[in-house]
């Protein structure tokens, strides 16, 4: 690995200042992507800025009215050990438990997973489905955008020079709602998604009030298939409507063939996973477990 220096800013402002003086700086949260990329020479830097000493980036805040705020550097294990999140957002607990294995979860963060902007990022489809937003601060101040607008290409995102992701925000769970992320991997852990589907449904008296569906690993970015969810709005909850949404999701996928699977196979998986995730989310909504 080539030489770099190391800084531990104590505030967002200090971090933004370092990014200004070191345009080539890289931000370190859990390091499970960054350290690997630096070691393999896929990224270079003169300065690693460790974000784990900035309180805002390392806090979890939840209240029933306002929803959930997760600092960008909060490691997965802190999410799945949090009883408030477990009650309100069980799908998020599952998500934090399936990124990497135990040791990776001791370091990896949802914010890092999002900023790394891999098409296969496991956390992003569910965050999109759950209407999460990103809070970013840079030289020009603070702004918020929807997670579905964050990634722009493999490894690329909307962050401007000098700007950093501070936190993710999830709205409070709607009544009669349920969410679920399912991915397909050949092993049972420690694997990159061949395809993934994150969904959230809100039910209303045997019908879908609304649904949101997003896919992993089948496009240059995590893919929000708005039309697949929209097709369910106002429709009865049954096999036919769910199958139709799954068809639309499959049609929206734009996968490639690589070592993890062929394009045909991935497209097929989008249909299977979307259907299964919708069924699981419906179940969850009906049981009131979200």
């Amino acid at each position: 690995m080539k030489w770099f220096d190391y800084a531990t800013p104590a505030s967002v402002g200090e971090a933004v200042g370092l990014l200004k003086t070191h345009p080539g700086a890289r931000l370190l949260a859990g390091g499970t992507d960054l350290i690997v990329q630096l070691r393999a020479g896929r990224k270079e830097t003169d300065l690693v800025v460790d974000l784990k000493h900035i309180p805002e980036l390392n806090a979890i805040g939840y209240d029933a009215a306002g929803g959930l705020t997760i600092g960008a550097s909060v490691p997965c294990y802190k999410i799945y050990r949090d009883p408030a999140i477990a009650r309100a957002y069980p799908a998020l607990i599952e998500l934090a438990s399936l990124i990497g294995g135990t040791q990776i979860q001791g370091r990896a963060s949802l914010g890092g997973n999002l900023c790394n902007a891999a098409p296969s990022a496991d956390s992003v489809p569910l965050l999109i489905a759950m209407r999460a937003t990103c809070r970013m601060t840079g030289p020009g101040g603070t702004r918020e955008i929807a997670v579905e607008d964050f990634c722009t290409a493999p490894g690329r995102n909307v962050l401007q020079p000098g700007e950093l992701l501070v936190s993710l925000h999830l709205p409070p769970p709607a009544p009669h709602s349920g969410a679920r992320y399912l991915r397909f991997i050949p092993r049972n852990e420690m694997d990159i998604a061949v395809a993934g589907a994150g969904v959230e449904v809100v039910l209303d008296d045997g019908k879908f009030r609304s649904a949101r569906i997003a896919l992993a690993a089948v496009a240059p970015t995590p893919l929000f298939v708005r039309e697949a969810g929209d097709a369910l709005a106002g429709q009865p909850v049954n096999e036919t409507t769910i199958a139709r949404a799954a068809d639309i999701a499959r049609a929206g996928a734009k996968p490639i063939t690589d070592m993890r699977g062929t394009a045909d196979y991935r497209r097929h998986l989008c249909g299977v996973l979307t259907r299964r995730a919708l069924e699981a989310a419906v179940q969850r909504a009906r049981e009131g477990k979200r």
Binding site: W3, Y6, I35, R39, D50, G101, T102, Q103
Partner: protein
């Protein structure tokens, strides 16, 4: 001019101080700077678990931690698992169950399993397999490792 960094940390309950380059991983610092070679390198990208250590309240692969991040942290390595001259119940169970062959993955498995038993004294087979899925063993097929962890848990509860 590049400067090395002074890191103050606690390793296996003992205050330690060392100098390192920011690009050196905690794994490198443990092995090459501090001489704690019980922690092994198998892949250097977080996918085999041979370099597992405990860092504060979590279990991590030390190849994916920078040495400089250990500042102020409490680190436990395989060298800190035995209780003085007595083996930890996990270490005894690994020996009694022949849960190691080449032994190079063993330190990582024992450290990770200790973290599990500290949190969940009564894990079932599925929980043990899930928790240890970040640790690869190529010799044993895992069977005897799982049995060893089960036996150690039983002993600890007794």
């Amino acid at each position: 001019m590049h400067n090395t960094v002074r890191v103050q940390t606690t390793i296996n309950g003992e205050a330690r101080e060392f100098l390192c380059e920011p690009r050196q991983s905690l794994l490198e610092c443990l092995r090459d700077v501090l001489g704690l070679t019980g922690t092994k390198e198998g892949c250097n990208d977080g996918n085999c678990g041979a370099c597992t250590v405990l860092m504060d309240d979590r279990v991590v692969t030390s190849c994916l931690v920078l040495g400089v991040e250990a500042q102020g942290a409490q680190i436990t390595t395989i060298e800190g698992i035995a209780r003085g001259s007595d083996l930890h119940p996990l270490q005894r169970a690994f020996l009694q169950n022949a849960a190691l062959q080449c032994g190079v993955c063993t330190p990582g498995f024992i450290v990770a399993a200790k973290a599990l038993l500290d949190r969940e004294p009564n894990p079932n087979e599925e929980q043990i397999r899930l928790w240890l899925a970040n640790n690869l063993c190529r010799c044993t097929g895992y069977d005897k490792i799982i049995r060893a962890v089960e036996q150690a848990a039983e002993e600890a509860r007794a």
